[in-house]
Symmetry: none
Subunit: 219 residues, 4 copies
Amino acid sequence: MTSGTRSKGTRSSFLEEARRAQIVQCAIDIISTHGYAQASLALIAERAGISKGVISYHFAGKDELIAQVYTEVMTLAAKAVLPRVEQQPGASDKLRVYIEGSIAFIGTHGPHSIALLEIWNGLRTPQGKPVFDARSYEPGLDFLQNIFRQGQAEGEFRRFSPRHMAVAVRSAIDGVLVQRITYGDKVDLEESSRELVDLFHAATAKPAAPTRGSRRPRA
Amino acid sequence: MTSGTRSKGTRSSFLEEARRAQIVQCAIDIISTHGYAQASLALIAERAGISKGVISYHFAGKDELIAQVYTEVMTLAAKAVLPRVEQQPGASDKLRVYIEGSIAFIGTHGPHSIALLEIWNGLRTPQGKPVFDARSYEPGLDFLQNIFRQGQAEGEFRRFSPRHMAVAVRSAIDGVLVQRITYGDKVDLEESSRELVDLFHAATAKPAAPTRGSRRPRA
Amino acid sequence: MTSGTRSKGTRSSFLEEARRAQIVQCAIDIISTHGYAQASLALIAERAGISKGVISYHFAGKDELIAQVYTEVMTLAAKAVLPRVEQQPGASDKLRVYIEGSIAFIGTHGPHSIALLEIWNGLRTPQGKPVFDARSYEPGLDFLQNIFRQGQAEGEFRRFSPRHMAVAVRSAIDGVLVQRITYGDKVDLEESSRELVDLFHAATAKPAAPTRGSRRPRA
Amino acid sequence: MTSGTRSKGTRSSFLEEARRAQIVQCAIDIISTHGYAQASLALIAERAGISKGVISYHFAGKDELIAQVYTEVMTLAAKAVLPRVEQQPGASDKLRVYIEGSIAFIGTHGPHSIALLEIWNGLRTPQGKPVFDARSYEPGLDFLQNIFRQGQAEGEFRRFSPRHMAVAVRSAIDGVLVQRITYGDKVDLEESSRELVDLFHAATAKPAAPTRGSRRPRA
DNA sequence: AATGAATGAGGCTTCATTCAT
DNA sequence: CATGAATGAAGCCTCATTCAT
């Protein structure tokens, strides 16, 4: 209204955003520890030390909160993984970094990863149909498919269906997450990472030429 | 079990079992079409054309019904897949038949497969902990791990972690199921089967010997 | 299923109907005493001495309960008033009996009448639009308009707009109800009835012929 | 009130009054479009482009705001109708002008009229009793009764109960409003006005003397 | 004087479970 | 054995009101 100082609107927005972020974070915690179905607004509010109504005040409803959580986690994951992948010139390296990055994200953002899986599996339309069905995977699958197509075009990869391979890679990574959820620290993510890299390297690489030497660029 | 006239108790048991089986079947239908969260006893009872109380009468509670569904489907799947796998002498063929059988099961028992996934993801303890977490996978994983160990011992497979490979195989098969749920008939299960067989053949096979000929036993 | 005795279905229906009727009656009582807006399911259930869930069990939701109340009262009112009206051959007598019957209904079915008015005024769509707006009056207005058309055709009534007269008659009767709601027994319904009969007789009758004698058929 | 610089208190009062008037106006708009039950403070504040708290600041509570709306509209209506009525010397003309003025007010102040009806029907005490029941009508009814008494005393009107006639006139005018709310412009207010004037002229006038000529002084 | 944030009560609905018949 | 009826908890949402800034 006056000048110089930050406008009220901005200050409002700042506090508003802080609250929203806090609530989103608590939602992630609760969803990851109690599961999507048990993640009631009451539980989330309790965790945040606020009244239930506060959530309704800052979010249009539970749906918006969940959507926000989803967006938050997806954005975080994409930022953590994709840029580093794209820095790799070769398809084989891209695949390796994608797998390594994805599994590393599970380690650094455990609750986020779990929450993502929970929402994925738990969020339904009122008719019971999944809101995030396989269609939501498409962007990620596209990303992988492009890597595979590049590798095949450049002769680095053998012939296979890029789509099915992409589905398998994503599924395998999710499988690691499921293991991690159950067994916690007993699952050595670095080992899982190495094994999956090897697995999909072997699965995609061209059959060894007769005079081939070392097979793996790195273990 | 076979003779016509049995004691009342047995006849009771027979009817009892028929009722239970009917309810379990309806539960599978409802869970697969409406999702776990929406699968209320009322919906299942309506589908079965019976009263809600009947379910409570035949099952200790919803949990027991769901557990029964789970057992039923797991048993069906095991019967459909495992015997044929064990008929194969070689580890490589065992793996191939396991994958083929598992994906074929998705095709022949769609609702069962979906229900299994729904229960897997949806069933929780009152504290929100998954009832069927990765631990429930262990029997299946053991089965696969044994195949891999056999193959490695017999020199058919390269060196890799049997456990991680087992997790990857199961996850990849589940990935096909998720695709199938979303895209239905547009997902060609036979193609998926072939691709996964190829994928894991390549992933497990020893690096091609210099003078090896055909790599795939079957296309 | 057997024979002779009433089928289970019927017995069920009987008890079912009794409960529904009880709940509808309690809803009428609560709506008439506390007003539509305050007529919560909790209050109605408390009055009926049952749990809130019972209402949800017997009715699809609050909407269906209210609709049932509305239908119940409308049907009662129609049965109480219309047949006697149609027994009258002359339009003038029809009008008189209609007014007398409508006001008598207020006396014999006070809570019903009040509940009807409350629902009429209070029930809204989620967007705030009245569910029972003037359109719902049309059947009743038609009935009155036909009386007026008959009277004009037979020369008993003077020239006027049947529609506007019909609206005025209905409104005047509702006005008596509003008075009754506020002042209770202090409003003499018989007197109100006589006055309205006179009023609308005078309003509809042809200008007195020069040699006219008695004006009212009944005082 | 007129001079430019006044004490702070007065200037405050001026702004205060402006704010209150603005809020009252917005309340009228919202009530008339969304209905009383849906007219939340949030909606009214949004319409006014202010914060919800402002309303609480300027009004003791929602009740006071509504009461203010009621007073505002009643005052407007009284100012629009009563003075012109009182200019008429004869009772018959007074009645005519009262009806004409009241219906004209519906045309010129649609939202006000609707809001008035909504408040009338919707506002309740915490116990569910109407706040504005028929008692609130008394001033208006008195005004009409005085007209009728005058007309009867001066021999212009026939014998009838002034009170019941007054109730009928008010009810009939309200009936026109209800029609207008539902059917909007399709209700010709001028026609409604003429018909009601005729109706109540006929209803109140002395039976035609044997040698009388024209019945209506004016249409 | 105004605001946005927070509260807490209350409403409707769904649902697994219990129980008398 | 089976049923329909009833329960009570829990969930999400709306809203008038209060309060610190």
